[in-house]
Symmetry: C2
Amino acid sequence: MSIPSTSASVFKRRRDRLHGHLKSPALLAAGEARSRNFRANVYPFRASSHFLYFLGASIPGAALLFVDGRSILFTHAPDPVDALWHGPRPSLESVCAAHELDEVRPLEEIGDAVSALVGPVATLPTQDTASAKWLGSLLGREVDSCSGDSLTGVDAALADGIIDLRSRHDEAAIEQLKHAARVSAEAHIAGMRATRPGGDEYGVMAAMVGVLRSAGLEDAYGPIVTVHGEVLHAHEHTNPTASGDLLLADVGGETSEGWAADITRVWPVSGTFSSSQRAIYDVVLEAELACIEMAQPGVRYRAVHECAKRTIVAGLRELGIFKGEVDGLIERGAAALFFPHGVGHLLGLDVHDMEDLGDRAGYASGRERDARFGDAYLRLDRDLEPGMAVTIEPGFYQVPGILDDAQYTASIGADLDRGVLAKYADVRGIRIEDDVLITETGNEVLTSGVPKKADEIEAVMRS
Amino acid sequence: MSIPSTSASVFKRRRDRLHGHLKSPALLAAGEARSRNFRANVYPFRASSHFLYFLGASIPGAALLFVDGRSILFTHAPDPVDALWHGPRPSLESVCAAHELDEVRPLEEIGDAVSALVGPVATLPTQDTASAKWLGSLLGREVDSCSGDSLTGVDAALADGIIDLRSRHDEAAIEQLKHAARVSAEAHIAGMRATRPGGDEYGVMAAMVGVLRSAGLEDAYGPIVTVHGEVLHAHEHTNPTASGDLLLADVGGETSEGWAADITRVWPVSGTFSSSQRAIYDVVLEAELACIEMAQPGVRYRAVHECAKRTIVAGLRELGIFKGEVDGLIERGAAALFFPHGVGHLLGLDVHDMEDLGDRAGYASGRERDARFGDAYLRLDRDLEPGMAVTIEPGFYQVPGILDDAQYTASIGADLDRGVLAKYADVRGIRIEDDVLITETGNEVLTSGVPKKADEIEAVMRS
């Protein structure tokens, strides 16, 4: 599979579009590599998404300055001694030409350059504390790391300009997202084939991550590969995989330019769903397909979330797990008992795209998070537009901390039939998640390369 | 392969031994998880090695306080809402019992607890800036991140106490090192078998990392898998693997308790060394075997480094690459032209063990780094003792930045026969690296599970 590479002119166009939004100079830091144990032993470096969006290259310690319509990169000049260990590096002039920048300057000059600017300089929260400290000292004010909930003034204006660009993807971004989706889909198929009774989660995860690495993709987020799907954030992989288990894999890669995929599938360790597993699986799948169908331009994403809740509650009522009217059950919070999270989020360079800017990116102006359990975790409430990419990921989980706690269950009371529910004890957690690009005429599922009907999954596992 | 697990009593014994060294209270931070893009999307967390040595568990944000012979862990108390997402967590009481600690207290109490201490409180540099900032605010003084070169007072005393413990491994540590070495050896064999003309570095790396992940091991350092072995710190994996290439793989895993392996092997992409490749390979191998033979209790590690230099220069002289007397060539810096780094380093929880403490760990009191190119990069100059683990890793590299620069080559002049050297153009970089445990009677090679004679490597690649 050939790896798409975004041309320099695309990044220049993105920078030029940002200049159109700016009323002040703006400074975006790439971030610092992080050491493990000792300084020279660094983790792989991945630049901040805001930086990557405008340059496409992860250069530790670098910064992009936008001023008076000009885009200037500050970065380390090549060092002859360093070249002995890392190989020769391009000159600042050739970096400038390769990236179609207006200017590239040695990093040491950034202090003077920033001091010479007139008026306030906008910036954004960084992904690491070291960079926040550095930006803070350059700008003479506090810069936060990893939280953009309280942006004001020029920083808020910069964030809004970037959100405007990044929330609707250009063609090059879409190519990147498609590539990440295709490779991640292959990883899921490899995971299905690597699963067996008597194995363990590590083995399945290694098969999946191996596909990503072979294709040059890093993880877009910490892989979840677990037989305890009811633990929503399960990042351990030490459990054995036993015959009656469902395995939940939420695994996605990111391209070297930083674009993410985010896929969840669930499959039976034995290769065959039990009848109880298949019944619940089909409820979640029905919800997922209905939500994808709904995800069209002009549709409010919250309505998609409501569709997921309704389909799940109705499906569980069909199975006899809930009793009573669907409307009333939903009103009383029934959906969140088994589906306590939102139906999805924006997808782009970040797996939860621009979540570092808080709800400014995910929520349209004037809209706020619902206070109710379950709905409070909805990360996106915008009207969908062509070029947006979102995930659709309804689920069903038997979380003891929810089902055993009267603060969550009291409103449903005996309309939750625990006798019937007990028949589904072998369904601990199911989530089905695809990546969906909103188009002018509807949508395109980017992750269709991985099977999701129960029969199809069983067929892949047999092959 | 069963995964060794260190019992709580071992960690208690280590803590008690540290108390024997301390003349002041000491505080060791685990470190903070690092976010990518946005706060909730964190990289896998691996605690600071000093913390891991005394507790064995990576708990983000936690800290160990050593005071008056008591060991107190400060950590986040379990949160019922958090339990919905991460599953139930043990109570502080059960953490205390499981780890045989004297006390476990909620993290919020650490400020008051530290304020109540009498006299200076020792600490060490942290691996992340956020933790340095946090410790700094707790202790009311500057705490550095990732550099222990300038420790003084109680901090220096704490470092020396820890170095005394960590430089000679106990039985449990040795079991961990052996396990990491065994799994990493398997990864190298898988890498050899995954290598083929027309493939790429990513594919080989994925096969190797897949073996580590399947066994539950993370990377101990950024894997180097490259057909450009002459780039010593090559962390890109994008090159194709062509028939005439040698592939250099410097890959090692670490156990979940944090113990590292560090192995380098070189193999021909085609499965067969060319005669020129084999000739140089055998020189490096001869040096490696001679150095391992020398690595015995009481031997000064610098002498092992000198042995590597001498064997390499003598071998290259045999091939006609150097002319003149070996002694004179070495005196004039000939070794560093092709072998510009040190022959190895301490190995333990860190791949360069305790390098965060600067040369305080690697260099015996009164010994300092040599100023000469090549020798200046020797990371270890202690007399070897039973229980120490070291790497032995001589190499041969044709680095253009060295061989084309008169500042390095002038002293050798015409005694470097470039005509002969040109016959070895298909040898860009070779390093052979094993992990060696010093024992009472000699040493034990922990990484003997991976072949290193050229014939043996070719046999594995055929199988």
